[in-house]
């Protein structure tokens, strides 16, 4: 027994000594948290496509926008958003042409628009095997399986090379957009505008190709006749009509340069088998390059050593007071050497890791909200003391997006042009209290929408001077108040559904809501929604299906009521109002107008408004359009989400600029602070371990005692 005791004591001693205050919970390999300048962040689901021709969602942009460089970008600091050249040497020269391609005399006979675009010289690509030549033939363009033996990722290719960026790469990419094999989501849109795009596309699709190589060479050799290469650094694009928003498109990753070598390189089937494709390993001129892409685990961006010396933007004196303005502006980008994005599906770990300092920035999910943010007495938003003390910075801004509940206008009950249905829609719109929604489900991170158009975009109605007259009344001192439930009820009665009972059939009116997914919140939301309808005695039936089913219903127009949202492609009212444009009807034309709303007046106005530059005249038209839809209530105007983003003290130069995607290059890291804080926040607590040791000791001792007892006992006891 003595021996055992001795051993136990020794063990305890060892364990206690083993416990240090060094953090044990660092989720990265220790080598990484060093004095290297690394940016740590997370992504929720693996990006599906990193090929600029395909990718269209923000989580994909988060990566490729750092790698690929389109012609233009948004100014990082300026608001309202302003386009500035990126690879282009200056903003393009725009010429308006008439039907025979002469400069148009008058505004009315404009048939074509021509953009002449110049790009900067000696911009070169990141180093990549696709460019590597041995005596003037591309070494890696025809790989045998022997070459590929121990190659698992792009890094495993020994020899790299690069070349200068030319306009051919931009032109080639535009052609790729046309190639239906690439499933570009905007091919449909572009063929409306770019001259010869459609023809090229059809020609390409008609032709049968023996293999991708020949397809690529075909794409390379044939031209879209609306697009002319003038010299290596200049080219021109002709649009079929006047379309000012086209510049915005040019700023999107769809129009990034694509070297044909890369396309050819990646088109080899043997590489595909190893998941080495253009979709996973982009090739760009941008400040960063993707060195590790394991979508199951993490994605790593590293500084592109070939990146030309772009500098931090400076804006005039209004930024003088910024403490870090002086030491950053005019400094060469990018500041950080490496960015590590870890896959983080669950929200809980993401938030906790951020609090522990292992992620440099984070959004705020509604459930962490009150932990993060509080309203001070004057009502504006500040951080909670807890986060204040951690020295976390908060940035808020209103996204150029809108969430709405749509009515399917093709539905016999809820839809249609009849007064009956309109009144019903209006009644419901009044009944649904989005103020409450915002406070419950987004913790007030949003503002009530008066119309589809979010703030910061021409035609936005602020809900003070301009507002939705169908749903709101002016109260005193130019604040507005929602119409009362009783009004809603009377509307309902007018519509012939007194107390929610159909006067014809005498049955209660039952409406159907199409919900998607079964997220943790769905249940709560559906309950809330039913409560809203109950207010005016309407029965709401929710049909929950997965996103596929939902899509299908939308396309067949079998749904009745649904919730959806829209993120702006570019900051222009057209990009929102087209969601209600008749010709975009989802059922009829497979467009984005999910509620299949159709109104002659609205459509004609839309066509007028569409091609105008922002102007008071345009605003006037927009106002008229809004009035129409506000009358008809094809949607319940939901809300425009406010996006809050948190970042740690050591992460510098955070501006939230919701249009710009290529923001990583501006960020900077102060590593000393980080290390100090992380060590401070993550002191391990060894209580549990001691506890377990004690349990085990008890375990062992009791056994020994039992053994001895058993040996002692005699037959009587």
């Amino acid at each position: 027994m003595k021996k055992i005791f001795k051993n136990i004591i020794i063990i305890i001693f060892i364990v206690i000594n083993g416990c240090s205050d060094k953090p044990l919970n660092n989720p990265y390999s220790d080598s990484n948290i060093s004095n290297q300048n690394i940016f740590y962040s997370s992504f929720q689901e693996r990006p599906k496509h990193l090929d600029p021709v395909r990718s269209y969602s923000s989580n994909e942009y988060a990566f490729i926008a750092q790698i690929y460089e389109p012609l233009f970008q948004y100014h990082y600091l300026k608001k309202p958003y302003e386009l500035i050249p990126l690879t282009a040497s200056e903003m393009p020269e725009v010429l308006y042409l008439d039907k025979n391609f002469k400069i148009a005399k008058a505004n009315k006979n404009i048939d074509y628009t021509k953009y002449i675009i110049k790009i900067k010289k000696d911009i070169i690509y990141q180093n990549h095997p696709a460019f590597y030549k041995e005596n003037n033939i591309y070494a890696y363009h025809d790989l045998s399986s022997k070459d590929l033996e121990n190659i698992y990722t792009i890094k495993d290719f020994k020899l790299n090379s690069t070349r200068e960026l030319t306009v051919d790469d931009y032109i080639y990419q535009i052609k790729r957009l046309a190639d239906s094999k690439n499933h570009s989501p905007i091919a449909g849109v572009m063929q409306e505008y770019i001259l010869g795009f459609k023809e090229f596309k059809d020609k390409l699709n008609k032709k049968k190709f023996s293999n991708t190589k020949s397809r690529i060479s075909f794409v390379k050799s044939n031209d879209i006749y609306g697009i002319k290469k003038i010299d290596n650094y200049t080219f021109s694009i002709i649009l079929k009509r006047k379309y000012p928003q086209f510049l915005y498109w040019l700023a999107m990753p769809f129009f990034s340069p694509m070297p044909w070598e890369a396309d050819l390189f990646y088109s080899q089937n043997k590489l595909k088998k190893k998941n080495i494709t253009l979709n996973w390993f982009p090739v760009g001129t941008g400040p960063f390059k993707l060195t590790e892409n394991n979508p199951n685990l993490k994605m790593v961006l590293e500084k592109n050593e070939n990146f030309r010396g772009e500098v931090y933007p400076s804006v005039l004196d209004k930024f003088k007071n910024r403490k870090y303005f002086h030491h950053n502006s005019e400094r060469i980008l990018p500041f950080i050497d490496k960015a590590i994005y870890s896959l983080e599906k669950e929200q809980i770990p993401r938030w906790n890791k951020f609090l522990q300092g292992y992620y440099d920035n984070s959004g705020i999910a509604s459930d962490n909200y009150d932990q993060a943010v509080s309203l001070n007495n004057s009502g504006d938003i500040t951080l909670t003391d807890e986060l204040m003390t951690k020295g976390i910075n908060l940035k808020t801004s209103i996204a150029a997006s809108t969430y709405y509940i749509g009515f399917n206008m093709l539905d016999p009950v809820i839809g249609g042009k009849s007064d009956k249905s309109r009144l019903l829609r209006q009644a419901i719109s009044i009944a649904i209290d989005y103020d409450e929604y915002i406070s419950i489900f987004t913790n007030g991170r949003g503002i009530i929408a008066q119309s589809p158009i979010p703030p910061g975009i021409a035609g936005y109605q602020d809900g003070k001077t301009e507002f939705n007259k169908t749903l709101f009344n002016t109260a005193e001192n130019n604040t507005i108040s929602k119409k009362s439930i009783s009004e809603a009820k009377s509307l309902l009665a007018k519509a012939g559904y007194k107390n929610g009972i159909d006067q014809k059939t005498g049955k209660p009116l039952i409406l159907y809501f199409e919900a998607t997914g079964a997220g943790a919140d769905t249940y709560a939301f559906l309950n809330w929604l039913r409560k809203q309808f109950k207010k005016i005695d309407l029965q709401l039936v929710t049909r929950v299906t997965d996103y596929n089913r939902f899509q299908e219903k939308m396309i067949n127009g079998t749904g009745q009521i649904f919730q959806w949202g829209w993120n702006a492609d570019y900051p222009d009212p057209e990009n929102f109002l087209f969601l209600l444009y008749g010709k975009n009807g989802k059922v009829k034309f497979g467009g984005e107008n999910a509620s299949n709303y159709e109104s002659k007046k609205f459509d004609s106005l839309f066509i007028k408004m569409k091609n105008m530059k922002n102007s008071s005249e345009r605003n006037f038209i927009i106002k008229k359009m809004l009035r129409i839809i506000q009358e008809d209530c094809p949607w319940i105007w939901g809300f425009h989400p406010k996006s809050f983003s948190l970042s740690h003290k050591w992460l510098e130069n955070i501006e939230n600029n919701l249009m710009a995607n290529n923001t990583l290059k501006y960020k900077n890291i102060n590593n000393d602070i980080r290390i100090e804080k992380i060590n401070k926040w993550n002191k391990p607590n060894y209580l549990l371990i001691y506890f377990f040791i004690i349990i085990i000791i008890i375990f062992i001792l009791s056994t020994f005692i039992m053994v001895r007892k058993k040996d002692k006992e005699n037959a009587y006891d």
Partner: protein
């Protein structure tokens, strides 16, 4: 002669229900003598043994008494010391050799454990000698085998070897031969005797079989539900047992010899089996084409006259039961014919069979598994009746039941009860009633008594003979106990490995048989010597 072991008013109780299962037991065992502990199942003989070696279940507790081994009470020893005693002084053999050996250890390892010496070289030699001494000639081979590769007799020998390894002063043998065939039984008994003399140890021999006891023991102790009711030395005991129960035990072993009633002149056969063959197809290996057969019954012919009893005798695995099954249509016949009342049952239409079936019925070995525990006795007895003659009406039915129950010596109130409310003997009566109610011409009795206590055995046998006398039904009586058979059967056929080695009138075969095997059988049956 000095006292080796002395059990002084030992009492035992079951913890959960404080009911005594041993009530002050007193007896002595002297050096190098064999004491037999006799009693029927549940009389507490095994418990006595276990409490001597102190291996009782946790569920029972010694309430009183002491067990003095060499004049010191071993019940007071602490477990550790007791182990030493088990290792060197007292050892035990159990009833079921197949279950008493560890299936996953080979013989060598198991034997090794009973030696104290560490050095393995000599141990191996010792073990081999030991095995040889218990009559296992090819010990070298055996020690590397696993229990399941040995026959029952071999296993028991190994057990014995294990027990005597430590040269114990006292050997406790708990029904060591019950599960063995008679021939083997004899060998084992002889072995025990020999060993006893060789290494003059004392043996506490526990058995239910008086004959066996009479053969080996110096002293007899009779137990009945937890009490000793008689102690005597063997010769006296068998001459004149004092206690009435002992008497009944004693005379339950020898049966009233059946008076040879005059030959039934009309010699028509109730049962006529001609060269019956029953082969079972062995599960053949995946690739080989040709089938292997186990010849369970190979060319057997039997005739039974009306109202007479024919017995099939044989050791386990001799195929006697298969014959019965074949007759009852429970086993497929490979070839040969079975005639019952001159109807060949193998080519009857299903309708006819149903009509015919009531003429021949079967009584099974184990009354505990032959009655469905979920059915009332009434239902059990009715079952066949309802099915085989559906036309019968309620009143007749009730009459029949009452009548048959009377015949087997039971009362009406049994009908409402469930099997588990009856003792083994009663169950067997019920089983008999079930078939009797159909008043069959032929009854096949498959070891109807082997699972019963001796006294009960006798009653059942008597019942059967009684029945035969009343309604002259003929029996096909299957048993391993040639002694029993000889007393009740008119004709016998002795079976071995599926073949009939000899058959004929019982008297002839018992008294002057030609056949070696039969001789062996007869000789190895233990007889009470007095």
């Amino acid at each position: 002669m000095s006292k080796l072991l002395n059990v002084k008013n030992l009492s035992l109780e079951i913890k959960s229900s404080n009911k005594n299962i041993l009530k002050n037991i007193n007896f002595d065992i002297y050096k190098s003598e064999i004491v037999s502990l006799i009693g029927e199942s549940g009389s507490g003989k095994s418990l006595t043994a276990l409490s001597i070696i102190r291996l009782l279940e946790k569920s029972c507790r010694i309430t009183d008494g002491e067990i003095n081994y060499l004049n010191k009470n071993i019940l007071l020893l602490e477990e550790k010391k007791m182990r030493a005693i088990r290792k060197n002084e007292i050892s035990m053999i159990f009833q079921e050799p197949m279950r008493s050996l560890n299936p996953v250890m080979n013989i060598y390892d198991q034997l090794k454990e009973s030696y104290t010496v560490k050095n393995t070289k000599n141990i191996k030699k010792e073990i081999i000698n030991n095995l040889v001494s218990v009559g296992i000639s090819d010990a070298e081979r055996v020690i590397s085998l696993y229990p399941h590769q040995l026959s029952g007799g071999m296993k028991q020998r190994v057990m014995i070897a294990m027990a005597i390894a430590c040269k114990p002063k006292l050997l406790i043998a708990d029904e060591p031969t019950t599960s063995l065939d008679v021939t083997i039984q004899k060998q084992v008994l002889d072995l025990l005797l020999e060993l006893k003399n060789k290494m003059n140890m004392s043996i506490l021999f526990i058995t239910h079989d008086l004959a066996v006891a009479s053969q080996i023991s110096d002293k007899i102790i009779v137990m009945r539900d937890g009490e000793i009711i008689e102690k005597a030395n063997t010769t006296n005991f068998f001459k004149n047992p004092k206690n009435t129960y002992s008497k009944s035990l004693l005379d339950s072993t020898h049966y009233l010899k059946k008076e040879n009633k005059k030959e039934t002149n009309h010699n028509d056969n109730t049962l006529d089996i001609k060269n019956l063959r029953v082969y079972f197809e062995e599960s053949k290996s995946f690739f080989s084409k040709q089938k292997k057969f186990i010849k369970a019954v190979d060319d057997v012919s039997i005739k039974i006259k009306t109202g007479s009893t024919h017995a099939i005798v044989g050791e386990s695995g001799s195929g006697k039961t298969t014959v019965a099954k074949a007759v009852m249509g429970l086993a497929k016949i490979t070839s040969g014919s079975i005639k019952i009342q001159n109807k060949d049952i193998s080519n009857l239409s299903s309708r006819e069979t149903i009509n015919h079936r009531k003429n021949y019925q079967m009584i099974f070995q184990d009354p505990f598994s032959s009655l469905n525990p979920r059915m009332r006795i009434g239902a059990i007895i009715k079952e066949g009746l309802c099915f085989l003659n559906p036309e019968i009406n309620k009143k007749e039915m009730d009459f029949l039941l009452e009548d048959v129950l009377y015949k087997v010596g039971m009362t009406n109130d049994a009908l409402k009860k469930y099997p588990h409310e009856f003792s083994g003997g009663q169950r067997q009566r019920i089983a008999i009633a079930r078939v009797l109610v159909l008043n069959p011409k032929l009854l096949i009795c498959d070891e109807p008594t082997s699972s019963l206590d001796v006294t009960v055995q006798k009653q059942v046998i008597n019942l059967l003979t009684e029945i035969q006398r009343r309604s002259n039904v003929s029996y096909l009586f299957i048993s391993h106990d040639i002694k029993l058979v000889s007393s009740i059967s008119d004709t016998i056929s002795v079976m071995k490995n599926g073949k009939v080695v000899e058959s004929g009138k019982t008297f002839d075969i018992i008294n002057h048989t030609k056949n070696e095997y039969t001789k062996k059988l007869l000789s190895s049956v233990p007889q009470i010597i007095n």
